[in-house]
């Protein structure tokens, strides 16, 4: 993006560190722009906290797209048919692309992607906890497409429609155009298994039972315990709270489960006529925080796999650099 901020190494962490005192007039004008629904662009004045919150949120989102390839990559070679293999390959390729769109967006905020990649492979960066759970059976591929991509679509559609930061919003528009087939292919696979042999039905029901609660955690901590929500909402980065988006996902998903004869592992689920919402049970937030802090079933494995892929690609990057230098040198001799 022309006019991106000059970059210099700094941590992308949004801690409670002191922020420079900002001109109240500039801040008032910025907030008036947000209130008018204007798009904030890279060269516009923005509060430092806004910049940091965006870097935090966008980099975590980009990392999630990249790490999200790993649980699925496990199953590409084990897909039960060519049709399923093709769709899984295309989906994983999309996720790589989505990560790149969002890394590109973060670079407009003066962070460069090399630094972000470094934070990911050293285990410093956070990404969506959902990817720290193992994919035990083929049915997990269908359920991930249906649940995890379904939850992502709920989040990303809201960002594509309302996010106040232009580059992030535009990246989300791009992502949403591609994301819908992910959910649909997952649901097709789930429906086929649910209507298959008793063993297939049991396998997909088991996958649903394992993925339901972690998927609900994807929307982040409850509104009462979400340290970043207030700022993100105030500055129009997000339009809806974590709990609002979570409820929307639950309302969409339950009828889909019923349509294919699958149950959800929550005995307290009930439809509330008054609100039109499905009321669901208590989420185990201890489990959520444990996985966020690095102690989920696969945290170390995911970071190690990502690091290995990055290091194994070093020779390709070195070769590309050497090739470009050789070509440029040849051009220089010819010009001389």
């Amino acid at each position: 993006m022309p006019g991106r901020r000059p970059s210099h190494p700094r941590s992308t962490a949004v801690t409670q560190q002191a922020t420079p005192t900002e001109d109240p007039a500039l801040l008032a004008e910025f907030e008036a722009r947000i209130a008018r629904g204007e798009s904030i662009e890279p060269k516009d004045w923005m509060p430092e906290r806004y910049r940091r919150q965006l870097v935090r949120m966008m980099s975590q989102h980009a990392h999630s797209e990249v790490v999200g390839m790993l649980p699925e990559g496990n199953w590409i070679t084990r897909a039960p048919s060519l049709r399923r293999k093709l769709s899984l390959l295309a989906k994983v390729q999309d996720e790589a692309g989505h990560g790149l769109y969002i890394y590109c967006g973060t670079e407009t905020l003066g962070v460069d992607r090399q630094q972000l990649l470094e934070e990911l492979i050293t285990g410093k960066a956070k990404y969506s906890s959902i990817f720290n759970y193992p994919t035990l059976t083929w049915a997990d591929m269908g359920v991930i497409g249906w649940f995890v991509d379904g939850a992502a679509i709920v989040n990303q559609t809201a960002l594509a429609k309302h996010c106040s930061y232009g580059p992030y919003k535009r990246a989300m528009v791009r992502v949403c155009k591609e994301e819908n087939f992910h959910k649909k292919q997952g649901f097709e696979s789930v429906a086929a298994l649910a209507q298959g042999t008793p063993a297939q039905h049991a396998m997909v029901q088991d996958a649903v039972d394992r993925w339901w609660w972690p998927t609900l955690m994807m929307f982040g901590p409850p509104d009462s315990d979400s340290p970043n929500s207030a700022e993100l909402l105030r500055w129009g980065v997000k339009k809806y709270t974590n709990d609002e988006l979570r409820q929307r996902f639950v309302n969409l998903t339950i009828p889909q489960a019923q349509a294919v004869g699958l149950t959800l592992p929550d005995p307290s689920l009930r439809f509330d006529e008054a609100t039109g919402n499905w009321v669901f049970g208590e989420i185990d937030w201890n489990e959520f925080w444990q996985v966020v802090k690095g102690d989920g079933p696969c945290n170390r494995e995911r970071v190690a796999a990502r690091r290995a892929a990055h290091e194994d690609g070093e020779w390709v990057r070195a070769a590309a650099t050497a090739h470009a230098e050789k070509k440029a040198a040849r051009g220089a001799t010819r010009a001389a």
Binding site: P2, R4, H8, Q93, L100, A329
Partner: protein, 127 residues
């Protein structure tokens, strides 16, 4: 009168960052590698014949050919793209947000730039 042109892209990074290594002598200027990182390129795509090229995003690459290839892989994977431009980010001079008013003044408050300001004799058509 131009707006203040801010330095952008890798070049700016080097000015700002005293720890950045200067490119080695003889290193390509258009694929300058600052800080061990490939140069940043802005990508513009055209969707249909006759449509404008629009900014799609950015890629990192060693040189123009490599940038085109990466841009094709990232921004031309899905959907319709029939043409692409890649431009080193540092080569783009951009207006600044404070220019929005005076720099792009459409002169709408001046009535004489609009046709209805002028009169023509009654009955004359097509003026």
């Amino acid at each position: 009168m131009y707006g203040t042109v801010l330095p952008v892209g890798e070049g700016a990074g080097q000015e700002q960052d005293p720890t950045a290594k200067a490119p080695a002598a003889g290193a390509p200027t258009d694929g300058a590698i600052a800080d061990g990182q490939w140069q940043l390129w802005e990508v513009f795509t055209q969707e249909t014949q006759g449509a404008p090229h629009e900014h799609a995003g950015s890629v990192r690459a060693t040189d123009a050919g490599h940038a085109l290839q990466n841009a094709r892989d990232v921004y031309g994977r899905r959907g319709k793209v029939i043409s692409m431009w890649v431009v080193p980010t540092g080569a783009i001079a951009a207006s600044s947000p404070s220019d929005a008013g005076p720099f792009f003044d459409p002169m709408n408050e001046r009535p004489y730039v609009h046709p209805h300001f002028y009169k023509a004799p009654r009955g004359v058509r097509g003026v």
